[in-house]
């Protein structure tokens, strides 16, 4: 098992499953029982399930509020413009599931069939899954510790009947913790194409994004590239540009040059995105990302 929590004593060690770092790890019980050499059976089950999914892309950011969900939704819509392309959007932000609202699917519920959970379809070729669909009220809080969140992510990957999918886009919460480790771990046998990392231009965001990039290196997750969101604000009245989030250290461009990672593009701040999220449309300027 390569994707391990920091400080993992090793699955073969006498401390396997018993150390402080083992708390919350999905394999803890296995390791403590002495069966540590055997990986979680769910990993193989998920590998089988993912055989019908051609491409898997994780959308990450160390920083919150930079536009991961917005980007994931627009990317999904953009890919699904070709009605012959089957697209799936999985929201693994368990505490703050934004995807249902952004996709205009609030209030939808998940149905179970003989072949597993059915995603909620916003188009014939675009299916969505989120914990948001399992909550009965918009005020319901998901107050779960790591292991329960991990269990939910395992179910999303193993038990959802995605069918034949060309692109599975996985939207994540900010950070480098349980959800991220679990997603990488459970998909470890299924081959993830890579990660798209979202940032805004200012250093306080880039600082967190560099940590996310380090996380990707640690867990051997390829990085497709970085997207700089909220790059510049264009006043709707006078059309002049202002940098609301100034790139005090050169923005994503300098960071990508330093770390030799592709900069996939820059997206300006557009007040209309807030409105279009309700309608589930995407602005034409997102199209140029799709060729990456």
């Amino acid at each position: 098992m390569e994707e391990v929590p920091q400080g993992c004593p090793g699955t073969g060690s006498a401390q396997a499953g018993r150390g402080a770092s083992c708390q919350g790890c999905p394999n803890q019980r296995l390791c403590a029982s002495g069966a540590g050499a055997a990986p979680d059976p769910a990993i193989e089950e998920i590998k089988e399930k993912m055989k019908t999914v051609k491409h898997k892309i994780l959308v990450l950011s160390g920083k919150g509020g930079v536009g991961k969900s917005t980007f994931s939704a627009h990317l999904a819509h953009g890919l699904a413009e070709d009605e012959n392309t089957q697209v799936a959007l999985l929201d693994i932000d368990i505490c703050g599931p934004s995807i249902p609202k952004i996709m205009g699917l609030e209030g939808e519920q998940v149905h179970q069939s003989g072949s597993g959970w059915s995603p909620v379809f916003v188009e014939d070729n675009l299916g969505v899954m989120s914990v948001g669909f399992l909550l009965s009220s918009p005020d319901d809080a998901v107050i779960w510790r790591g292991p329960k969140k991990n269990g939910m992510i395992k179910q999303f990957l193993r038990d959802v009947d995605w069918g034949e999918v060309d692109y599975l886009i996985v939207d994540t919460p900010p950070g480098t913790s349980d959800e991220h480790l679990s997603a990488v771990q459970y998909l470890s046998a299924a081959h993830i194409d890579g990660a798209v990392i979202i940032t805004t231009p200012q250093e306080v965001s880039l600082q967190d994004v560099r940590k996310e990039i380090n996380f990707c290196h640690k867990v051997k997750l390829p990085i497709i590239g970085v997207v700089e969101n909220m790059s510049v604000f264009i006043c709707p009245k006078c059309k002049k540009e202002t940098q609301i989030f100034p790139p005090t250290t050169g923005g994503a461009e300098v960071m990508c040059q330093d770390l030799k990672i592709p900069l996939l593009g820059k997206v300006p701040l557009d007040p209309h995105i807030g409105i279009q999220e309700f309608c589930g449309h995407h602005p034409p300027k997102e199209e140029h990302f799709l060729s990456s």
Partner: protein
């Protein structure tokens, strides 16, 4: 890793404020910082600000902390029990987004010290309100008194033509406060000077009193101070 039990370490702290949001990137750290600075300047005497963060324990700023929940909980307990906080009028606790390990650990660790309560931050748009409603439920379920809701990134005044644009939509903060029956403490507009000031580690409250964000931030601090119950000595 057992946290040392030191009941005395928070005994000198008069008020504790948790800054929360269900949503990432709404400005919890910004509001925490500016609130701390504003409380300092509004106080009767200039005092220093004490600060603790896992950032100070990292060897390099790019180092990723790839920990699962229990290890994060243990560090939070240590921050509460093992840091010599001394005499403080206010302890402002900045949190990550969500309603998970860190939040439960912070509430559990601080509960014996009668925290003042929670300041909940949102931005105006519905996708933020959607997440922050869940945070308010968390507060209710854990018995945290909500001091009020702050709406951040409320509009941007174009420096070229003075047109105010609702970059992140509008109205969310007041809707949220009204839904939850808690006070609405104010709206803080977008200000690139504020962003730059944070990036450069400056004292925004001292250096930019003419900024459009200043009156809102100062007023929020005043309201927090007037909510603080007197503590029996």
């Amino acid at each position: 890793m057992e946290a040392a039990v030191e009941p005395g370490n928070l005994a000198g702290v008069r008020h504790i404020i948790l800054v929360l949001s269900g949503k990432g990137g709404v400005g919890k750290s910004t509001i925490s910082t500016e609130l701390a600075l504003a409380l300092r300047h509004a106080g009767k005497k200039e005092q220093s600000i004490s600060l603790m963060s896992v950032g100070f324990l990292l060897e390099s700023p790019d180092e990723a902390v790839v920990w699962r929940g229990p290890k994060k909980n243990a560090l939070i307990k240590q921050f509460v029990a093992d840091v010599a906080w001394g005499q403080l009028d206010y302890l402002v606790v900045d949190t990550p987004p969500g309603t998970s390990d860190e939040h439960m650990a912070a509430v559990e660790a601080l509960r014996p010290y009668s925290p003042l309560g929670a300041l909940v931050v949102t931005t105006p748009q519905a996708v933020s309100v959607g997440d922050v409603r869940r945070e308010l439920t968390f507060c209710r379920k854990t018995g945290l008194q909500v001091v009020g809701v702050v709406e951040n990134m409320s509009g941007f005044v174009c420096p070229h033509c003075a047109e105010c644009t609702n970059v992140f939509s509008r109205g969310g903060g007041e809707v949220l406060a009204s839904l939850a029956g808690v006070p609405f403490l104010g709206s803080v507009p977008l200000d690139p000077e504020l962003t730059r000031s944070l990036e450069e580690g400056q004292d925004f409250i001292r250096d930019f009193p003419k900024s459009p964000a200043f009156p809102a931030l100062f007023s929020i601090a005043q309201k927090v101070m007037s909510e603080a119950p007197a503590r029996l000595s």
